[in-house]
């Protein structure tokens, strides 16, 4: 049997395993635990310098309700959805089309175009910040939802195309050829055969992109200014206050903001059916 059960190995291995596993787990979870504890710490604890000790009280209700009362976080979360959902739809839809073209059609510059998509991922986006801001200003897209969505879609399509192209390339090509001989047109092949078969990949991609865009702070600060556009990552800044940083509120806000990607993951979970294409060809 492989891997060998830990109970069957030498005693010292078993003991070391039982000691180090919890340590590693706690180390790994420490930042998350820190945020979670801070989010329920009363403000007085932080004022008196009790950052990492036991909280003196449980201020869950106070902190979480004041996050919603003292800032526009509800509005910012809505903004985040208004940016993220169109971006996910746009990037996944576009990359399915580009991925299909690059995976299925033989044309001269196929590989070159594919490498262009891939190479785009290697450009650090920090160096693009100023040109993109100038461009959006000139196009009248600065500080608009449309601008933010358009640029997110543009930046994510490279990676998505790489992902979808490789997934589609792995489908048995005979499926497509068989449909062609039957007289099914190319778009219907794409829609009725290829798309249903790459559904697990689309689900995985949607979750990934949702998380990327939801957690984006960089473009949110570069391309958005007004409260109408600002997504939750940038909006949280508001809780900093004028004279002191309210860490307990920022922590609480961070946890609230992290919930949608987690929910998204569990929602899409059932679509990750691996091996949907199993049994497609060989017996």
């Amino acid at each position: 049997m492989f891997p060998r059960p830990i109970e069957k190995s030498a005693p010292w291995v078993g003991i070391a395993y039982k000691v180090f596993l919890p340590i590693a787990l706690i180390l790994w979870l420490l930042p998350l635990i820190g945020i979670a504890i801070t989010s329920v710490r009363p403000a007085s604890d932080l004022a008196s310098g009790n950052y990492f000790g036991m909280p003196s009280g449980f201020a869950f209700v106070e902190n979480y309700s004041s996050v919603f009362k003292n800032s526009n976080i509800g509005w910012y979360i809505l903004n985040s959805f208004r940016v993220t959902i169109p971006t996910v739809i746009g990037a996944v839809a576009l990359s399915c089309l580009t991925g299909y073209a690059l995976a299925v059609y033989k044309f001269k510059s196929n590989l070159f175009v594919f490498f262009l998509f891939v190479a785009g991922n290697f450009v650090p986006f920090q160096i693009l910040a100023i040109p993109v801001r100038d461009l959006t200003l000139k196009m009248g897209l600065y500080d608009t939802m449309t601008g933010l969505v358009l640029f997110h879609v543009a930046f994510q399509t490279g990676f998505c195309t790489l992902f979808m192209r490789n997934f589609m390339k792995a489908l048995p090509f005979a499926l497509i050829e068989s449909a062609r001989v039957e007289g099914v047109n190319e778009f219907k092949i794409f829609w009725h055969i290829v798309l249903p078969l790459v559904r697990p990949a689309m689900a995985a991609l949607a979750v990934l992109i949702f998380t990327f865009i939801w957690n984006d702070y960089f473009w949110a600060t570069v391309m958005a200014q007004s409260a109408d556009v600002r997504p939750v990552t940038a909006g949280m800044n508001e809780l900093k206050g004028q004279y002191k940083v309210a860490w307990e509120l920022i922590s609480a806000a961070a946890i609230v903001a992290a919930l949608p990607p987690v929910a998204m993951f569990f929602l899409m979970q059932k679509h990750f059916i691996a091996g949907l294409t199993l049994g497609a060809t060989k017996g």
Partner: protein
């Protein structure tokens, strides 16, 4: 129903010529099998007929109409793939009806045609299953059903049985043969298995390195091969080839000093030649006087109904002999062989046939 005619068909991939000028005519309702070793271009040729590969040059006519530049869908062909190519997310019924539905056939029409195909192939109980719930043979039948519903003029099969086990292969071979009889459609079938070719074909096309070596009925190819390639390829186990030298008149000198006198030899023999004789036509001689050659048994397979001896001739040539199941010779023993002249084929040094034996005499 239609004839298929290829004229000087050529196909190049880059600088490599895969199909080097094929002229072929398949009659209406004929079962034509392309056979050849791997890499001979038989699948490529089939895909060219299907419209999945372009012609580099040459022409293709189906039912008298020029089709080389016509879209695959408009050629009136249906193809069955080696991998079955069933859509894994659709049920059997949806798989069979998919092409019709996508090309705008009415639901009643699809229903009727699906039912007819299902009846023909005993698919009725499987219609609501997904391909992953089917066995290999069932998948193959669905793939054939998908071809039938389109009422094509020409059926194209690309090694359809090579993923099946031996027993199922025999069963499907019979089923496809029956289907051909029922539908009376033109069928072109690609295989590397010469047993499939022999059992199913009206006409066999032997391909080798992008060219046609010979076209003919199975028995024609078996009895009168045009060259050494066809002689060696058709027939199982394959024909024995023995290096011989021309003797006086129409006699041939065998390794070890024996001779064979070929009856009815028309060509003049000279120099080094090759003698071909099938394992099933070699006879065991009881006395040295009757034998043409004395050999040593290297391996023996006792199959009950027959015994296969693999022997070494005096010059080191290896040969196979099919003897009856009662033969008692052991490995290491000497085996005396008699080559009946009417079963001997003679080939020149280029591999061309100089003489075909005639067993009917």
């Amino acid at each position: 129903m239609a004839t298929v005619t290829l004229k000087n068909a050529k196909k190049q991939f880059g600088a490599v010529e895969i199909i080097k000028g094929i002229d072929l005519s398949v009659a209406d309702g004929e079962f034509c099998v392309f056979v050849g070793p791997s890499g001979c271009g038989k699948s490529t040729l089939l895909r060219m007929i299907a419209g999945l590969e372009d012609f580099t040059s040459g022409s293709l006519q189906i039912g008298g109409k020029e089709m080389a530049k016509v879209e695959s869908a408009d050629r009136g062909v249906a193809m069955v793939f080696q991998s079955y190519a069933l859509y894994p997310h659709m049920t059997v019924k949806q798989n069979i009806g998919f092409g019709l539905k996508m090309t705008g056939h009415s639901l009643a029409d699809i229903e009727g045609r699906t039912k007819r195909a299902a009846d023909m192939l005993q698919l009725e109980p499987l219609l609501d299953r997904k391909p992953s719930q089917l066995s290999g043979g069932q998948r193959q039948r669905v793939a054939i059903g998908r071809a039938i519903v389109r009422n094509p003029e020409v059926f194209l099969f690309d090694e359809p049985l090579s993923n099946l086990d031996a027993a199922l292969r025999v069963q499907m071979r019979i089923q496809i043969g029956k289907l051909h009889h029922d539908l009376k459609a033109t069928m072109i079938y690609v295989t590397h298995d010469q047993v499939e070719a022999m059992t199913m074909a009206d006409k066999i096309v032997v391909l080798h390195a992008g060219r046609i070596e010979q076209v003919g009925s199975p028995l024609e190819l078996y009895h009168r091969p045009n060259n050494m390639f066809v002689a060696g390829f058709i027939g199982s186990p394959k024909m024995n080839f023995v290096n011989v030298e021309a003797g006086t008149g129409s006699s041939l000198k065998l390794p070890g000093g024996g001779t064979v006198k070929i009856d009815g030899m028309k060509a003049k023999l000279s120099g080094k030649l090759t003698l071909g004789i099938r394992p099933e036509h070699v006879e065991l001689a009881k006395k040295t006087a009757d034998a043409n050659v004395s050999t040593v048994v290297r391996a023996a397979e006792y199959l009950g109904s027959e015994t296969m001896f693999y022997v070494t001739l005096p010059d080191g040539t290896e040969a196979a002999v099919k003897a009856d199941g009662l033969a008692k010779t052991q490995v290491g023993d000497t085996l005396l062989l008699h080559f009946p002249p009417k079963a001997c084929h003679v080939f020149d040094p280029d591999g061309k046939t100089l003489h075909n034996g005639d067993l009917s005499k």
